[in-house]
Structures are given as C-alpha cells and as structure tokens.
C-alpha cells in the first residue's frame, strides 16, 4: 500500500457511499440489545424481495442516542439524510415500502416526530 493507492481507495469508496440509497442500521451492543438485528434483517429481506440494486444496506456503530434505539439512517446520494428511530421489523418494512420504494418519507417514525 502506498499513498496513491490509499487515495484511490478513498475516492472510489466515497463515490460508492454517495451513490444511490444507503441504509445504515445502528448495530452497536446497545442497539443490538434494543432489537436492531431483526430490524436489519427485515430491511435486507424487503430490499431483496423487491430486488433494488441502487440500495446498500449496511451496519454502523453507535451515534450516541441510546434512548432512540433501534435506529437507522436513510441517506440519498450522500446528501439528504433521514433518521428513523425506535424501530421494529414491521415499522422498518413500512419505511422500505413507503420511503425507499415509494420515495415518501414516513414522518411519524423520524427522529423529528420523537424529539425536537
């Protein structure tokens, strides 16, 4: 590995992360304890069922808001970010249908519906 290679990986990964829809599910110990794993699986299942290829489902660490776990972010082309909180597998499936497929944010489940 040299600097040029490192920068190439950086550029390519950023491009990949900022293209299409990225669903990032919080999977720290606290999130998993709150039920993040079934949420992650439900999302993966729904995405697979519909066969969306511009969607990446990934796991991330802890953003620090324990009271809102399980939670996930939906990030569109590296820009618009919506955080869904206090998720269940059922709610997550709804978000996939409405938001990811339908393009309509499910306001009732966003962080803004829970706190200011």
């Amino acid at each position: 590995m040299n600097i040029a290679q490192l920068e190439k990986i950086q550029k390519e990964t950023l491009e990949k992360m900022n293209t299409g829809i990225r669903i990032a599910v919080g999977m720290p110990t606290c999130g998993i304890a709150a039920g993040a794993k079934p949420v992650l699986e439900a999302i993966q299942e729904e995405i697979e069922k519909v066969g969306l290829d511009n969607v990446t489902v990934t796991q991330v660490g802890c953003v620090g808001a324990c009271r809102l776990e399980p939670m996930f972010d939906v990030i569109k082309d590296g820009g618009e970010k919506v955080t869904y909180v206090l998720m269940t597998p059922e709610k997550a499936k709804e978000v996939v249908k409405e938001h990811i497929i339908g393009g309509k944010i499910v306001e009732a489940y966003t962080v803004g519906a829970e706190e200011a």
Binding site: T13, D73, G112
Partner: protein, 499 residues
C-alpha cells in the same frame, strides 16, 4: 415549522463537536474502505513519510491533549518519557478496561471505529520506537473485541499494519488481551501486571510505565478515547486541537449521560461546556419536571456537582477544584428523589467490592466506611459518626496505594461537602429527606384524599393495610410494612405518602 429529519439536527447534537466519535454511526466498522474514505490511515501515512518521531511527540505536546481515562496526564509528555527511555523493546498499550458504572464511550469507539485505535497506536509506536502493542479490553465487550480482530486482520492484509507499514522500515503489531472482570485492572500498573499474566494488582510508582512497564520495558499506556483523538490531531494540526476547550484542557470530552435525564446517551462536547448546557440543553432536562439535585462525574472515583455549580465549565482542573474529577466521563444525573447518603453508599459498595486487597487503607478502610454509612441509613448513626467518616475518608485518600483506593472516598467526601444537611437529617431527626432510606421512612394514608377504594390493599404483598372498602379510610401497619412502594403506585388519588 418543518420537523427535523436527521439525528444531527436534533437538540441533543447542539453544542456537540465530534472528534473521538467522528466515525461512530457513520461508517461500517467492519469495512476498512469506509474508514479510509473518512481519511483513515492518512495520519499514519503522514507521520511515516513526512515526520520524525520527535515531530510527532512535539505535535502531541503542542496540541495539549490530556489522558481521557480520567487522570488527565499530558499525552505528549508521557510519550516523550517513553521515547527517552533507552531499551531494545518498547510497548504501546491501550486501556480498554472500561469499568466505571455508567460509562461506555470506549466501547462505542471500539465498536464503531476500531481502525482509528489501530492507526493511533501505530502512530504512538512510531513516536516512541515500539513495534508491539497490546489492547487490554474487558471481556464483557465481545463485539468490541470481534470488531478489533476484524480490523487488525483487514489492515494487515493490505499492508497498513504489521510488517513494513506503507512499505517503510516501520513495523507494528498488536495483540488483544482480555480482562477478567476486575475493576482495578483499569489502573495502569495492575493492567500491566494482568497483561504479563500475573494477578492484577497495582504496584508502587515510580518507576512509571514509561520507564518500566510491560515486562519491565518502557510502555506508553493510553485510554481508548485518548487514542481516538490522535489521527485527527496529526491531520488537522496541534493548533486546531488546541483551539478548542479551556486554557489547560484542550479539545473535547465524551460523556455518557445516564440517570435522571431525558436524553440519555453519549455526547462529545468541547472542554469548558457547562454542566447546565449538558444537562438542560443537550440532555433535555430532567424527566417529569423534577428538580436537579446533583450530577456524579467520574463514577465511583468522582464526586457530585450540586446545583450551585451548574454553571461550572467542565474541564479537568475545575472538576478537581469542586471536589469531583473528570474520570472516564460517566455523568449520572440525580434529582430530588435521590438520597445523597444512599448514593455515596452505592458507590462505596462498588469500590469496597472491587478493592484488590493489597493495601490496608483501601481493603479495610472502604469496609469500615461502608459500615458507618450502613449505620447512618439504618437510623443508628450519630453526629460523631459523620466526623469519623470524614477522618477515615481523608486517611484512605492519603494512604492508599493506587488510584482506586485514593479516589474511593470521593463520593463520601463530596456528598458530605455539599449535602451535609442530608447526613445530619439522617442522624439527628432519623429522617431521609428524599424518602429513599427504608428504615427512616413511614408510609401513611392521607385521610382527606383516601377514596376507600381498596386498590392499595390488593397491591400490598404483606397484607399490612387494613380497613373496609367504601366505609373506612385505610391504615398502614408500620410494623408489618416492608416499604416496597406498591401501594403508592397503585393509588390513583395519590393518597399514600412517605414521611
């Protein structure tokens, strides 16, 4: 007004500045490329290509970074001591034995951004001339250990770790050692003993680990959060980091907010943020509109911050001056329903249990202090006991061998300092003002409020409430009552009170 959509826009993110936690919740910790996408391993490349070890240490000193494990020792200075120690072998170790009740920032970093720790430890290795590192992680963090292992394997596979990093002469490898559940192993000399395979007990310092550490070799031992700051300091410069915080405490600090607070969780704020901002703005205040009583910082080693100090800017020195300490950054908020004597007893219970037993002030002293506190909460205390408690506390603080013992009286001393009236109420009036200490509390039915509905009778597990449904006001038999509070919860008219 349009509702917020992303977590970063929420009130709890106001005042936050994320350096140690910058990647947590953003990148996939099990994908090396995502760490690289966020400037990962660029700091390591920079030190290996463009900086001498002296320049690295100089940058650390200028940045003003101090140890985030709680002690607050200047990191650059520690590195310079280890760099000056001549030896054929040196070590870099990471303290991930996070044991303070209520603190979990190290876990969050290890689980959310493990490569940052690898990168920082390699930087430390280059600076002091070490080729081997150890992460001492508590076994209760299996996911953190797993993600660290994945990170090590990934980084080694592409030459960012291990032999000849970035094609240079510098090699650095890492081993993970698991703790076995002893709180004292967070103390540096005990941690080193444990890494060596010995019983985890502290030793007298000096010699300090920077001179004689793991296997008697010069060792730099830093906390997880300290390491997590380092790649950014290298990339963005010492001046950038020193531009944040207070005069003697630079940068940011991660706090774990817990207890009686609405927005529990992890926050990272610049040093110098006031307790009021943390509790009322970021933390969203206290549930149920109750009154703030105190916040415990530094866990069982720290002290409480009373309402009169809400506007104190939080940094290492200010906290010491008001009788608390930074500690690892746990912040437990207490409201009017918490009894401060009971809180002091809770923390002492912890330190007494975790005392390793090597030195008598800690082993015997914490036990005796605990007994005195038991006496007070059970209503057998006297004013002389308070004085004895204070004398004992000061002796333990002065005479104990390691940080665990030296700081164990802090919860007692600080509650005595700010809430002496509560102690006095316990011993002279035999009353617990917060209504927590069972022996000093009586449950009573307020006749005017009682609707004679018998719900309390149904809830009582020991049948100590008597009366006739619809006819008489109920009465609680104080001798039989176990003060469990079930009747208070059951009564819809708030007719049962604690006195």
């Amino acid at each position: 007004m349009e509702k917020i959509k992303a977590i970063e826009e929420s009130v709890s993110f106001k005042h936050q500045e994320r350096i140690a936690l910058r990647n947590c919740g953003i990148i996939n910790p099990e994908v090396l490329e995502e760490y690289i996408a966020r400037d990962g391993y660029k700091a390591l490349a920079k030190v290996l290509m463009d900086m001498s070890p002296e320049e690295v240490i100089d940058t650390m000193i200028k940045s003003g970074l101090r140890g985030r494990g709680g002690g607050g020792f200047p990191t650059g200075l520690k590195w310079s001591f280890a760099a000056k120690s001549q030896n054929d072998q040196k070590y870099v170790a990471c303290n991930a034995d996070e044991g303070d009740p209520g603190a979990f920032m190290d876990r969050s970093v290890l689980e959310g951004d493990p490569h940052a720790i690898l990168e920082a430890m390699a930087i430390a290795g280059y600076a002091i001339g070490a080729s081997q590192g150890y992460v001492y992680c508590r076994a209760e963090y299996p996911l953190a250990v797993k993600r660290l292992e994945i990170a090590i394997e990934q980084a080694k596979a592409v030459g960012l770790f291990g032999e000849n990093i970035f094609g240079t002469d510098f090699s650095f490898d890492l081993e993970i050692r698991l703790g076995a559940g002893a709180f004292v192993c967070g103390e540096e000399t005990a941690l080193i003993a444990s890494i060596e395979g010995k019983r985890g007990m502290p030793k007298v310092r000096p010699p300090f680990p920077a001179v004689k550490g793991i296997f008697d070799k010069p060792t730099v031992l830093n906390n997880v959060e300290t390491f997590a700051n380092i790649p950014q300091i290298i990339l963005r410069g010492a001046d950038w980091f020193a531009g944040m915080g207070t005069e003697k405490s630079k940068g940011t600090k991660v706090f774990a907010l817990a207890g009686k607070i609405n927005n529990t969780g992890l926050i990272e704020v610049p040093m110098g943020t006031t307790v009021r901002q943390v509790v009322y703005e970021i933390g969203g205040g206290i549930p149920g509109g109750k009154a703030y009583k105190a916040a415990q910082t530094g866990g069982p080693s720290g002290g409480c911050i009373p309402a009169s100090h809400l506007d104190t800017p939080v940094d290492y020195d200010n906290l010491i001056s008001i009788g608390s300490m930074m500690g690892s950054g746990g912040m437990i908020v207490m409201d009017e329903d918490n009894c401060m004597v009971d809180i002091a007893r809770f923390f002492l219970d912890f330190t007494e249990e975790e005392s390793c037993g090597k030195c008598s002030p800690c082993r015997i002293g914490t036990k005796r202090m605990h007994q005195l506190l038991d006496k007070i909460v059970e209503g057998r205390g006297t004013l002389a006991d308070l004085d004895q408690l204070e004398t004992l506390a000061k002796t333990i603080k002065a005479a104990s061998l390691c940080g665990l013992g030296q700081t164990s009286p802090n919860p007692v001393l600080s509650t005595l300092r700010y809430f002496r009236d509560e102690y006095v109420a316990h011993v002279t009036e035999k009353k617990c003002p917060a209504g927590v200490c069972k022996a000093l509390v009586d449950y009573k039915v307020v006749a005017e409020l009682c609707k004679k509905c018998a719900l309390c009778v149904k809830a009582c597990p020991v049948d100590c409430i008597s009366g006739e449904k619809g006819k008489t006001v109920y009465e609680i038999d104080g001798a039989k009552c176990i003060k469990c509070g079930a009747c208070i919860t059951a009564c819809p008219f708030k007719a049962i009170i604690k006195e």
